[in-house]
């Protein structure tokens, strides 16, 4: 599910995969099955997370940033929900 739906782009997240190959498959799935009319997919990632490198491997480029901030107990990680999963056993 894209949860920021613009006319020609969609923002997706969260995105969890066990390999860059699976991430690539999920990306293609989004374009071809869920959002065939979209030209661009946007995604958020924390700068110190390993996800950034994976996304860049897939061809993503940085277009903007914000500051993640917290009140109270420090954040351990970002937590989101996702609606598209791949099967690690099948790649």
């Amino acid at each position: 599910m894209g949860f920021r739906d613009h006319s020609d782009s969609v923002q997706i997240g969260p995105w969890i995969s066990t390999s860059p190959q699976m991430a690539g498959n999920m990306l293609k799935y989004y374009f071809h099955h869920l959002h065939p009319a979209k030209k661009t997919i946007k995604v958020g990632a924390l700068e110190k997370g390993i996800t950034v490198e994976c996304l860049k491997t897939l061809g993503f480029e940085e277009v903007a940033f914000s500051f993640r901030m917290y009140w109270g107990v420090p954040l351990q990680t970002s937590i989101d929900f996702f609606t598209c999963i791949g099967d690690p056993a099948k790649g």
């Binding site: 949860f3 920021r4 739906d5 613009h6 782009s9 923002q11 969890i16 190959q21 699976m22 690539g24 498959n25 999920m26 990306l27 293609k28 799935y29 374009f31 071809h32 099955h33 869920l34 979209k38 030209k39 661009t40 946007k42 995604v43 958020g44 990632a45 924390l46 700068e47 110190k48 950034v52 996304l55 897939l58 061809g59 993503f60 480029e61 940085e62 277009v63 903007a64 940033f65 914000s66 500051f67 993640r68 901030m69 917290y70 009140w71 109270g72 107990v73 420090p74 954040l75 990680t77 970002s78 937590i79 929900f81 996702f82 609606t83 598209c84 999963i85 791949g86 099967d87 790649g91």
Partner: protein, 180 residues
């Protein structure tokens, strides 16, 4: 969600500022904010924005909405704040600060020990002045269309997948409040 409604006097302009919970008939105001900001959030759908895990407040002056803030609970003790918006003509008058304070209070009362948000660089100091600490940059990345069909197995998740998803995430055992 408890029904909370309080009134605060805006000394600078003499307006009577009323902070109240979001109502279904605020949808037009939400959409108008979205059209100005082009954030695309109103496409999340009413079902999502009005889910039981959300707490949302509207700032109104003379019964006209001028600002809003959304909060969301992840699991049992993590809260998230977003969509803090005040109409441009009413900014710099303490309305955003009042909305933020109200949402923090709501999430704390709901048991949240961590409250997070993503701030655009321009107003990072505003959140810092309210006790929020910078964590790290949250990057926005984009990719143009990728050609090709998926190889392997990818499917659209259903509610039946939630237990496995929860297990995979591990740190987030309670996903039962999700909406599709």
């Amino acid at each position: 969600m408890n029904h909370v409604e309080h009134k605060t006097s805006d000394i600078e302009l003499g307006h009577e500022l009323n902070i109240r919970e979001l109502r279904q008939d605020d949808w037009a105001f939400i959409r108008s904010c979205d059209e100005i900001l082009n954030w695309g959030f109103s496409n999340d759908g009413e079902q999502f924005l009005f889910s039981t895990r959300h707490s949302a407040f509207i700032a109104e002056i003379h019964q006209n909405p001028v600002g809003m803030v959304f909060g969301y609970r992840w699991g049992r003790n993590v809260g998230w704040i977003g969509l803090l918006v005040v109409n441009q003509e009413f900014r710099c008058q303490g309305i955003g600060r009042t909305l933020l304070s109200k949402q923090v209070q709501e999430l704390r009362q709901a048991g949240c020990v961590t409250i997070g948000l993503d701030s655009v660089p321009e107003i990072r100091q505003f959140y810092a002045s309210e006790g929020f600490v910078r964590d790290q940059k949250s990057l926005r990345l984009a990719i143009c269309r990728v050609e090709g069909t998926p190889q392997g197995y990818v499917k659209t998740a259903t509610k039946d997948d939630l237990p496995e998803i929860s297990y995979s995430i591990n740190r987030q055992p309670d996903l039962t409040g999700l909406s599709y």
